[in-house]
Amino acid sequence: MANEIFILIEHFRGQLADITYIMAAAARSASAGGEHPVVGLLLGHGVKDIVSDLDVDRVLSVDDSALADFTSDTYVHYLENLLSTYSPRALFVGDTSVGSDIAGILSKRKDIPLVSGCKEVFLRDGSLHFLSQIYGGKIMAEGEIPTPIAILSMIPGGYKPDQGQGSKGPEIEEISIPGPEKVRIKLKEYIDPEVGDVDISAESRLIAVGRGIQREDNLELATELAKALGGVVCASRPIVDQGWLSTSRMVGKSGKAVKADLYLALGISGAPEHVEGVADSGMIIAINTDPAAPIFDIAKYGAEVDILDLMPILTEKVLAARGS
C-alpha cells in the first residue's frame, strides 16, 4: 500500500536487535492516528517466533535457507522484489552492519532517495518528516521524507526500544520469492569474541580508557583505579585495535553497550561510535586535555587534567575514603 511504512527487521541468533524495536517506535510515533500502517519485513530462516513482541501491524515474512545468514547480495535481492511488489511510503533500515550495507545499493538500483543518520520521524502539515544528524550530532537537519518513497537509515537515540514493543503479536503473512541466481558473497563462519573474564555490559562501575592512555603499560594505572573502585576497565576502539585489551572490553557500536552507574571516561574523545555504547549509563565523568572533545557533551562532570597523573592520585584517595 502506498502509505505503509516498512521496517527491515534486524535479527541475529534468534533475537531482534534493539534497532528493530527503535524503528517500530519511530514509525508508530509518526503515525499515531494510524495514517501509516507499519509493516515489518522479516527475511530469515525459521525465525517467525521472534516478532511476537514487535509493535507493528503486520509482518511480511520470507523464509528461505538462502536467508539463514545475512549477505548484502541476498537481502538486496529479496528487498528489491518486495519494493517492486509493494510500494511503501518509506523503508526504514538500521544504520548498522546490515542496513548500511544495503541501503545505498537499493537506493541506486531502484532510484529511491536515501536519508541516513535518521534519529526521529514525525508528521508535520500532514506529511512525514525526518530529523537526521551528521557529525555525530553536532549538526541536525530536518526535512520532508522524499515522496513518493524513500529509504531511511536509522540510528538509535530518538526512541527507547521498549517504545517499539507490543503485547499483540502482529499477523504474519508468508511470502514466497524465488531465490537469487547469483550470490557473490558467502558466509564461512561466525567468530565470537574471546570470552573475557568479565562482561562489561553487566558491570556497574567502569573505568574506560581511550587514546589518552598513550602506552600499554599505563593500563596498569587504570586497572589499579578500577580495583579500588570495585569496577573493571573497558576501552574505546583504538585501544582494542592496538591489541592492548581484548574485544570483550570494547564499548561502542561494534563492541558492547554499557549501562554503568559510574562511567569514568579517561582520555576518550567521544566519537559517535563510542558514545552510542555509553548513552544509557548513569554518572559519566570525563577527563580529557582537549576541552572541545565531544565526550564532554554527554558527561555530567569533566576536567582537563592529565589522566596519567590523575589516576594514581585518585586511586589513593578512593582507597583512603574506603578506609583501607
Binding site: S72, S100, D101, L229, K317
Partner: protein, 254 residues
C-alpha cells in the same frame, strides 16, 4: 592485485560548526578539512595487502582544500598512483553524486579491489561504498576489519555488534567498507610527505556533471543546543580528584 582507494576529506569533529545564511547548509568558509579517519584505515589496509602479496594502489580524492597534502601523505605511506577528482565540490555534494563521479574514474583503473572507509560523518545519504559497488556492478561488504586476498576472491571479517565477526568470502572485483585496518595506521613523518610532494605527481580527472537527484531537500539545518555540557572541575590533579571523590560520595559509590 590492483587496489583503488577512494577517499574524502571531512570537517574535523572538534571544530566549531556554523550554519550559513540559507539556514539549510553548513558554513564551510573557515572549515579545516582532514582525511576521513575510516578512509585512512582503508589506505593503510591497502598498503598492508600490497606489502603481503604485491600489487599497486591508486588513491582518488575530490578536489577539496588540503587534498594535495592528503594525497602526498598517501604516497609516503606506499600508494603508487595519486588521482585528484576536479570539479566544483561543495561540502554538501551528496554521497550518491560523489560515487557517480568516482566510479567513472575507477572504471579506468581496472581494479580488483576497492577499499573505502565504511562511513563518513558528513554524509546525509549513507556511506559511499554501497553506491560505488552498484555503479561498478560489484559486491559490497562493509564493517570490514580483516582482509586477505587470493586468486579471484577475498576473505574478510565483517563486524557485528558485541564483538562478533563474520568471516565472508567475496568474489573479486569487490568493494569493501573498511571499519579498521588490521594494524593501526602507521605514523608518517612530515619529511616523508615533503619528499613525496617532490617525487610524486597528482593526476587530475574531471568529475562529470554531479547528479543532484536522489537527495532530500531540507527544511532547516541547525546546531542543537547541547542540553547540558559537562560541569568542569577546575584545579590540578589533586583538586580534581577531590571533586571526583565528592561526586562519588553523592551517588553512593563511596
Amino acid at each position: 592485485m590492483k587496489i583503488v582507494v577512494p577517499i574524502k576529506l571531512v570537517p574535523d569533529l572538534v571544530d566549531e560548526f556554523e550554519i550559513d545564511a540559507s539556514g539549510k547548509a553548513l558554513d564551510t568558509t573557515f572549515m579545516r578539512l582532514i582525511l576521513n579517519e575510516f578512509d585512512e584505515h582503508a589506505i593503510e589496509q591497502a598498503v598492508l595487502i600490497k606489502e603481503k602479496g604485491g600489487g599497486s594502489i591508486s588513491v582518488i580524492a575530490p578536489e577539496y582544500d588540503g587534498a594535495d597534502d592528503v594525497l602526498f601523505t598517501a604516497a609516503a605511506r606506499g600508494v603508487d598512483k595519486l588521482i585528484k577528482l576536479t570539479g566544483d565540490f561543495e561540502s554538501t555534494v551528496s554521497t550518491h553524486s560523489l560515487a557517480a563521479s568516482m566510479s567513472e574514474v575507477i572504471k579506468n583503473e581496472d581494479a580488483d579491489l576497492i577499499l573505502t572507509g565504511v562511513q563518513a560523518y558528513d554524509s546525509f545519504d549513507g556511506p559511499i561504498g554501497p553506491f560505488l559497488a552498484e555503479y561498478l556492478e560489484m559486491p559490497y561488504v562493509g564493517y570490514v576489519s580483516k582482509v586477505s586476498v587470493s586468486d579471484g576472491t577475498c576473505t574478510v571479517h565483517k563486524e557485528y555488534p558485541g564483538g562478533v565477526a563474520a568471516e565472508m568470502e567475496i568474489q573479486l572485483p569487490a568493494v569493501l567498507g573498511i571499519q579498521a585496518a588490521e594494524e593501526p595506521p602507521r605514523y608518517i613523518a612530515i619529511s616523508k610527505v615533503r619528499q613525496a610532494s617532490k617525487s610524486s605527481t597528482i593526476e587530475e580527472s574531471a568529475a562529470g556533471e554531479a547528479i543532484m537527484g536522489g537527495v532530500a531537500t531540507l527544511d532547516r539545518m541547525y546546531v542543537p543546543e547541547i542540553g547540558e555540557k559537562a560541569v568542569m572541575f577546575s584545579g590540578d590533579e589533586d583538586q580534581v580528584a577531590d571533586q571526583i571523590i565528592e561526586v562519588l560520595r553523592e551517588i553512593g559509590i563511596l
